[in-house]
C-alpha cells in the first residue's frame, strides 16, 4: 500500500459532492482547498464565520484589504451577491442549520460520528474557534483527512481518544484512501482506491468497515 490521494485530490473529491447553489463553510487550513475544485457549472456560496457570505478567491499579492478576510485571517475577495453581517448573525447561519455543508479537518473521527479536531491534549495553548459550532450547524458535516496520522495510526477509529469537537456529527469522511459514510454508528465504505484491497484498507482503519454491495472506485485527476 503506497498509493494515496494527495491533499489536493482529497479536496477535489470532496468538491464533487457539493451541489450547485449550496451554502458551504470550509474549515480553516486544508479544507479551504476544496473551493479550488468546484466543478464547472456549479456555483457554491461560501460562508466564513467572521461575517461574509459569497466570498471568492484570494486577491493578488499586494492587493490585500485586511478588513476583508476569512476565518483563517487570510485576505479574500467578494463575488457579486455577497453580504456582510455581524458574528451573531453569522453563527445563526451556522447553528440554525442554514448551511448545507461544512467540510472540516480531523485528528480523529469515530464510527459513531464523533469528531476530534480542536485539541491534541492538555499541553500548549488551547484554541477552538468556530469548530464546535460548525459541527452542530450544517445540514451535512463532512471531514477531509489523510487516512492515517503521520505515524501511520488510524484516524478513523471506534471511539475518539482526543478531546471531542462534537458528538455524532460527522456523516461522511473523505480520506487519502477512501470515502466512508457514517450510518447507524458504523463506517460504511463507499469508495476506495482501486489499487487497494479491502483487507489493506481495513488494516489501516481503526473500526470495522461495513461493506455494501457496491463499492465505487476512488479516482481523482492529477492535480
Amino acid at each position: 500500500m503506497s498509493a494515496k490521494l494527495s491533499n489536493a485530490q482529497i479536496a477535489w473529491r470532496a468538491a464533487q459532492d457539493i451541489e450547485d447553489g449550496t451554502y458551504v463553510n470550509l474549515g480553516i487550513g486544508f479544507p479551504e482547498m476544496v473551493a479550488k475544485f468546484q466543478p464547472e457549472g456549479r456555483q457554491a456560496i461560501f460562508h466564513t464565520e467572521n461575517g461574509v457570505l459569497n466570498f471568492g478567491e484570494a486577491p493578488a499579492a499586494g492587493e490585500e484589504d485586511w478588513d476583508l478576510i476569512n476565518a483563517g485571517k487570510k485576505a479574500i475577495t467578494l463575488r457579486p451577491g455577497a453580504a456582510f453581517f455581524h458574528h451573531a448573525d453569522s453563527f445563526a447561519m451556522v447553528r440554525g442549520g442554514h448551511l448545507d455543508v461544512a467540510i472540516l479537518g480531523a485528528y480523529e473521527v469515530a464510527e459513531n460520528g464523533d469528531l476530534a479536531n480542536w485539541s491534541t491534549g492538555p499541553k500548549g495553548v488551547p484554541a477552538v474557534g468556530g469548530a464546535m459550532d460548525l459541527v452542530h450547524g450544517a445540514k451535512r458535516v463532512a471531514v477531509i483527512t489523510d487516512h492515517v496520522t503521520k505515524d501511520g495510526k488510524p484516524k478513523l477509529v471506534q471511539r475518539c481518544t482526543l478531546p471531542l469537537t462534537g458528538v455524532g456529527c460527522v456523516t461522511r469522511v473523505y480520506t487519502s484512501l477512501a470515502v466512508v459514510d457514517i450510518e447507524g454508528g458504523r463506517f460504511v465504505l463507499r469508495e476506495k482506491l482501486p489499487s487497494l484491497s479491502i483487507d489493506e484498507l481495513q488494516a489501516v482503519t481503526g473500526a470495522e468497515l461495513v461493506l455494501p454491495p457496491q463499492i465505487g472506485d476512488l479516482v481523482a485527476p492529477e492535480l
Binding site: L78, G81, A83, F85, H98, H136
Partner: protein, 241 residues
C-alpha cells in the same frame, strides 16, 4: 443560482394544509399583500391550504391581507401579540365564535422566539411576562437574583415576506420601518418566499447594506407596484379572492 419565481401563484404553491406560516409586517408596514392575496385566491379556487397557523404581530385589519385570509376561513390559529387594529372584525368575529385559536405572545418574546428559531437556540430565558397570566405553565428560573421565564423557539414551514430590493440570489433590503419581523422570519422558516418591489442582479446591492443575506431566502418574486395594507384598508377595499 437564480431564486426568482415565475409568478405569485408559483410563489405560494408549496403551502399545504396545516402548515405554520409566518407573515412579515407590523400592521400594514411590510405586509406582503400580493403574496397573501395569491394564497387566498388559491384557497378560494381549490379549498387549500386550510387550517393554517399564522404567525404575525397582529391579526389583520379591514378586509385585505391577513384579514382576508382569516375571513376566507383558511386560518385555524393565530400566534401574535396584538390581535387588535383599526378594523379587527375578521379576527374578532371568528375568535368570539370559537372558530379560530389564539396564542398570545408578548411582542418582544414573539420576536425573540422567532429569532431563536433562526439561530438554532431551542430555548432562552426572558424577564418578560414573569408573574403574569402569559407565563402560566412555563418553566421559570432565577439568575443573579432575578426571575425569568423560559421561552421556546418558534419555527415555521413557510415565511411570506415583503422586501424592497431583492437580488436573484435572495439578498434583501427593506423599506423604512417595513423591516420589523421580516429578517427574523426569513431565518426561522423552512421555506422563505419574498415579494420584492424591485428585482436586481447579484452585485447591485452593496454587501454592507444587505439586511437579509441570501442564505435565508428560497424564492423571490417581483411585485413592482406593491399595494400597502393601510392604504387599502383606509380605502375600504375588500379582497374576497
Amino acid at each position: 443560482m437564480d431564486k426568482t419565481l415565475a409568478n405569485l401563484e408559483a410563489a405560494v404553491g408549496g403551502i399545504e394544509d396545516g402548515m405554520t406560516v409566518m407573515i412579515g409586517g407590523f400592521g400594514g408596514s411590510g405586509a406582503p399583500i400580493e403574496l397573501i392575496h395569491a394564497l387566498v385566491d388559491r384557497f378560494q379556487r381549490t379549498g387549500s391550504p386550510k387550517n393554517l397557523t399564522v404567525v404575525n404581530n397582529n391579526a389583520g385589519n379591514g378586509r385585505v391581507g391577513l384579514a382576508a385570509m382569516i375571513d376566507a376561513g383558511m386560518v385555524g390559529k393565530m400566534i401574535c401579540s396584538f390581535p387588535r387594529s383599526a378594523d379587527p372584525r375578521a379576527f374578532t368575529e371568528k375568535y368570539l365564535a370559537g372558530e379560530i385559536a389564539l396564542e398570545l405572545v408578548p411582542q418582544g418574546t414573539l420576536a425573540e422566539r422567532i429569532r431563536a428559531a433562526g439561530a438554532g437556540i431551542p430555548a432562552f430565558y426572558t424577564p418578560t411576562s414573569y408573574g403574569t397570566d402569559l407565563a402560566v405553565g412555563k418553566p421559570t428560573a432565577e439568575f443573579d437574583g432575578r426571575h425569568y421565564v423560559q421561552e421556546r423557539w418558534l419555527k415555521a414551514d413557510v415565511a411570506l415576506l415583503k422586501a424592497e430590493l431583492g437580488d436573484r440570489m435572495g439578498n434583501l433590503t427593506y423599506r423604512k420601518a417595513a423591516r420589523n419581523f421580516s429578517p427574523l422570519m426569513a431565518a426561522a422558516a423552512s421555506r422563505t418566499i419574498v415579494q420584492v418591489s424591485r428585482l436586481v442582479e447579484p452585485g447591485a446591492i452593496d454587501p454592507e447594506q444587505v439586511i437579509t443575506p441570501s442564505i435565508f431566502v428560497d424564492g423571490v418574486v417581483e411585485v413592482a407596484d406593491a399595494q400597502q395594507e393601510e392604504a387599502l384598508m383606509r380605502q375600504g377595499v375588500a379582497h374576497v379572492g
